[in-house]
Symmetry: C2
Subunit: 691 residues, 2 copies
């Protein structure tokens, strides 16, 4: 309905403001976008899938924040099913499908089916089992989930309580939940969607000499049907359902499942690497169990590679909005009355929150690419039967998963707060991103817990280096530790001269030295002084972080130091500014660890804040173009504040005035009446019925 507000425009034109930002930087956005996202046709695929999805009414994101959690699950299921139909209609491949999931941007109730469920069958099922299950899976004739985590047991898989007891007479397993804490819990797609599940349970076999006694052979995987094909109700002996609303993941039916002596056939145990001999009832291992860490490492690698695009989304919104938003005049302006309000991105207090994160997106990028390469190479080696690279891969992926998800999760919230009031509004586009992404510091290995794995690896490496300082180094870590041991007695900390000058190799060396020195301290404490592991945990966490930051800094540095840049001026220089900003900001945030380890002299740290200010001033004119290069489509951003056309205020107003369903209802604000909707006369019964 037209009204007088239709005529109104914002005081400053956002489109013109963003255009002026573009005009102020000579960066070639298309070229940089291709540099960042050119691999595997990402940009073309994004456009192709976007063209299809954005035209489907079911995928409109507009009212998502107005839906209840049960409605969000229904929507999520409807979309997942629609994507399957679209895939077939459009002849999309698996990468197109992944792109659709990325752009749809919610956890699909089918997600576990095409990730852990199919991966586990592919990796752990025997040839016969695969022949039986894979066609059903790939055709989505069944929908699977992966039931490992329990109500009382997360990270420690050995502590799982669910049992699978072998019945040698009937040749069956009995799956059972002995306690409430044995209930499977959190398992995605299980709550309302899945028809089948992979269940991880302690395998209990009767002893050969005394069949009434059981031996625990540790967690094994079983595949079983959990719901009836016709009624979709749980089978007798199983209680299964959705665990209820969560911080995020509204569209996903994370579930619980309890077993009451539930019987499954012998063929249910996935038997590529382990099986129960149906003749002797003995446990037979037929492969290297370490291979199962392969898929965990792969999942962590994907999380690391995804982190850059997540952080880029938040930074895109923040950079665009704070370029348009104006607040306060310069306190020192010579003609205060004539001055216009400043763009908030021109305030150092806004820059210091957003620009280091902008730099971080590129730091995450180059390490994401490094992980991709590392995984690809390691996989080749592992395929030849050599499991050597697995330790390094597992360690790097653990430390980086912890660091990168922390940077991205905290970065979203930092961007949100830097946008002030509107950052708290639904127009930020960060409400769902924040709620969903905050799962990432916890899933696939808690960010604090998994850092122990990195530290254990580094202590072992340092022990090797101490024991044989001249052994041929197997990898860069060996090289670093040997270098450290040769030089630690006469180390002179790096210094920064007064004007902030420090060259790039010195920056890398500072991060290397801290990682090596903290590794040596951990080695000293654990191996030499035999300090308790638990007592050392905080130190070990800090070590993992230092080591992972060293990886980020090194990969970023290598991106421009080892070959001449394919990018045109001024992009290479701007990326180098990003490198320095990321590294020096990180250094400044953790200064004590650097000075304690003699990596840098304390007086040098104190000058960093001015250097950081200068780097931000250098970066500022390029900020808008740099986020453009990340090529996040407006449809995915779904952010009034972050729109690429700068129409921030028009969109916020339109969302409120024309598209908010609450404004279609008139209420009765008088406390004397129990009526809520004016004129409904229902005495508030509708509200009560929902409670």
């Amino acid at each position: 309905m037209p009204d007088f507000t239709d005529r109104l425009k914002p005081a400053h034109d956002g489109t013109a403001t963003l255009q002026a930002e573009h005009d102020g930087s000579a960066i070639n956005v298309a070229e940089l976008a291709r540099h960042l996202l050119g691999r595997d046709g990402f940009l073309e695929r994004q456009q192709k899938v976007l063209n299809v999805l954005s035209k489907e009414a079911l995928f409109k994101k507009d009212q998502q924040l107005n839906l209840s959690r049960p409605e969000r699950y229904q929507l999520g299921l409807a979309r997942s099913k629609a994507i399957q139909r679209i895939i077939r209609r459009e002849s999309w491949n698996h990468e197109d499908y992944s792109m659709a999931e990325y752009l749809n941007d919610e956890m699909s109730p089918y997600f576990l089916h095409m990730s852990m469920f199919v991966t586990t069958v592919r990796e752990q099922a025997s040839k016969e089992q695969q022949a039986y299950w894979m066609p059903k899976i790939l055709n989505y004739d069944i929908i699977g989930c992966y039931a490992q985590t329990e109500l009382g047991h997360g990270s420690n898989v050995r502590g799982l309580e669910t049992t699978a007891t072998w019945d040698p007479l009937k040749k069956e397993f009995e799956i059972h939940s002995p306690h409430l804490t044995a209930s499977k819990w959190w398992n995605g797609s299980m709550g309302r969607t899945a028809t089948h599940a992979i269940v991880v349970a302690q395998l209990l076999l009767p002893k050969a000499n005394n069949p009434t006694e059981l031996t625990n052979h540790g967690p094994q995987t079983f595949i079983l049907q959990i719901r009836d094909k016709e009624t979709h109700r749980s089978l007798p002996g199983i209680a299964v359902g959705d665990i209820g609303p969560k911080y995020g993941y509204a569209s996903m039916d994370n579930g619980y499942m309890v077993f009451d002596h539930f019987r499954i056939p012998e063929s249910a145990m996935l038997s590529r690497y382990a099986e129960v001999s149906d003749k002797t009832g003995a446990f037979v291992r037929t492969g290297h169990p370490a291979v199962v860490y392969g898929s965990l490492t792969f999942v962590r690698g994907q999380i690391i590679m995804h982190a850059r695009l997540v952080l880029a989304r938040a930074v895109t919104v923040a950079v665009r909005y704070t370029s348009i938003r104006r607040q306060f005049k310069d306190r020192d302006a010579s003609n205060s009355a004539a001055a216009v309000e400043m763009k908030v991105l021109d305030y150092p207090t806004v820059q210091i929150r957003i620009l280091p994160l902008l730099a971080t997106t590129f730091a995450l990028h180059y390490t994401g690419e490094y992980m991709y390469e590392l995984y690809r190479k390691s996989r080749q080696t592992i395929e030849t039967g050599d499991f050597g690279p697995l330790a390094q891969l597992h360690s790097a992926s653990s430390g980086l998963k912890s660091l990168c998800t922390m940077l991205a999760a905290d970065g979203i919230e930092t961007c949100r707060r830097a946008m002030g009031g509107h950052g708290f509004g639904g127009g930020s586009g960060l409400v769902g991103l924040n709620s969903d992404y905050l799962s990432k510091p916890t899933v696939e290995g808690d960010n604090w817990m998994i850092t122990q794995q990195v530290a254990a690896y580094l202590i072992k490496k340092m022990t090797d280096a101490v024991n044989d300082p001249n052994a041929p180094p197997k990898d860069p870590t060996d090289e670093l530790f040997q270098f450290y041991l040769k030089n630690r007695s006469h180390r002179i900390p790096q210094t920064v001269v007064q004007d902030g000058t420090i060259n790039d190799p010195s920056i890398v060396e500072i991060f290397q030295w801290r990682a090596a020195d903290l590794s040596h301290r951990a080695y000293q404490a654990r191996v030499v002084e035999r300090k308790g592991w638990t007592k050392m945990m905080i130190t070990l966490h800090n070590l993992s972080r230092a080591y992972s930051e060293f990886i980020l800094v090194t990969n970023f540095y290598n991106s421009f130091s080892t070959s001449s840049s394919p990018l045109s001026t001024p992009t290479p220089a701007v990326l180098r500014t990003c490198f320095r900003l990321y590294a020096l900001y990180t250094l400044d945030q953790n200064a004590a660890a650097f000075t304690m380890t003699n990596s840098i002299a304390p007086e040098s740290v104190y000058t960093l804040q001015d250097t950081i200010l200068d780097l931000m001033t250098e970066l500022r004119p390029h900020a808008v173009k740099l986020v453009d290069a990340w090529s996040i489509p407006d449809w995915l951003l779904h952010s009034a504040l972050g729109r690429s056309d700068g129409k921030v205020y028009e969109e916020l107003f339109d969302m409120a005035h024309r598209r908010n369903p609450l404004n279609k209802v008139t209420f009765n604000p008088d406390w004397r009446s129990e009526e809520i909707v004016l004129g409904s006369g229902d005495g508030g019964r509708q509200v009560l019925a929902k409670l």
Copy 2:
């Protein structure tokens, strides 16, 4: 419906676990609770109001997370109205009402009526205006809101665009929104509830010598009706509505409002301190405008005092849950097979996230009490017409608002993550707390912006101290700055000996010295070197934080150093451990600023981590009893993880298996069908209709 899951119990009994925690500490919880919350009958009032509210069906919190945002507003309005009826039924006073709001724990659509609306009328309306409006307000015959912030204008009140132009012929004001960015925005209670509004607008008066030219007399306040009494529709010339879903505040109708040459009578301008002469059309100021900062300071003071209870809630949940949750056996256990899994609160990596925050709740407490006293005393002085204390009060409240809301907001999220997977679930009780509280770093003065006010105050104080180092000190800050100036030339940094020994006065002195030295650096840069204000902003922010941390540390220290404790053993010693943990943890987190200012020697900082570990070991046995002392009722916590009876897993399972509405519906998971609810045959139309 009974089923086999009814028989199941968790592997470890949570109730017994918490009982064992209680048995392990000699703290007298009731005594400590009274020490913390005894003032003004808080504990008795909490119990009284709880007894009433918790019995009302409308206040059941159980299904809140399953409601859509429009439903949450309806529920919020229903509850607000019900509270008004209950108040009258139970003869509650204003403190009882505030307690009901606290326990109900959601932003009420009436909230602005009883806060900014009534406060502004009370403080800025003339006697005649008060006589007309106050009875209607107190009786809730009208519902008011406070319309200051605009779509394009937040912190900078002088930049507001809405105009109030005086028409000398008709003796009316014309309220108008010249641009879209002039739309009032964010204003609570305005979207669907309010009948009236205080509107802040630029007062434009025709010039006496040239009536076609207008002079801007800056922002003034007007009271006006915005909706029709019968239809509750907006009046002609006003477009008003709810701005839509936000990060939190689901129950609150934050609104927008646009004016199209809307006319209001002369009497609408609140005229206690300023009015338009209806004879000459001239602007007449009749009072000290600084008094308006009084209510802002009061609101900030309340936020500071509230922060302890917010953080205490998150810490209560985290401490109880991590005392019950077990994960992994001790890696160094001598008999690994026999060992039970450790309580996760016994891991230093969990302690370092939760226990410093537990200590922080007490740090916030003593400074909250200090603010309460400071406000009370200043108010008395101001009532006598002496506005001297306002600067100090305003500065302290700004710096502390920034620091305390940051500590609480970040603390909630730290606690949530420390609880791993279940921290992401709806059973944490922190989902709503987090979403709602994240507004606090932004509202009532953005946390980064307002720190400039603190810094400006400190620079002025330091300038005074430098100019006249022997003037009689007016307050402790003067004393500190004079002490600093006398001693800075021969300062010897504090040191910590190897075993971590450092006495409490030395800790306070370290925080004092840093604050003084950073103040002097800011003075040097701004006053002596005439550095640009904008360039200095990050430094100024850090200064404000350092000064506010010094206030927290000092007040905490004074709580036990200046008089003998009224608390029985071992509580005073445990609180002293909290003091040391809070202070040394804070020191360790910002070590570089302390060493740079010569407050403490760098080598001493490096030993702090071991000291902190020891302090946490001291504190650990008392953690559960310390959170109990905060006396957060289970009904308010609404947390499966934080239940005082320790039945964590029973409650989580009950929520999922017996009370989750999603589990009452069976879905059709087959992608070939567009049907979502199995057997409904609606082809997915219901879902589409919501989009």
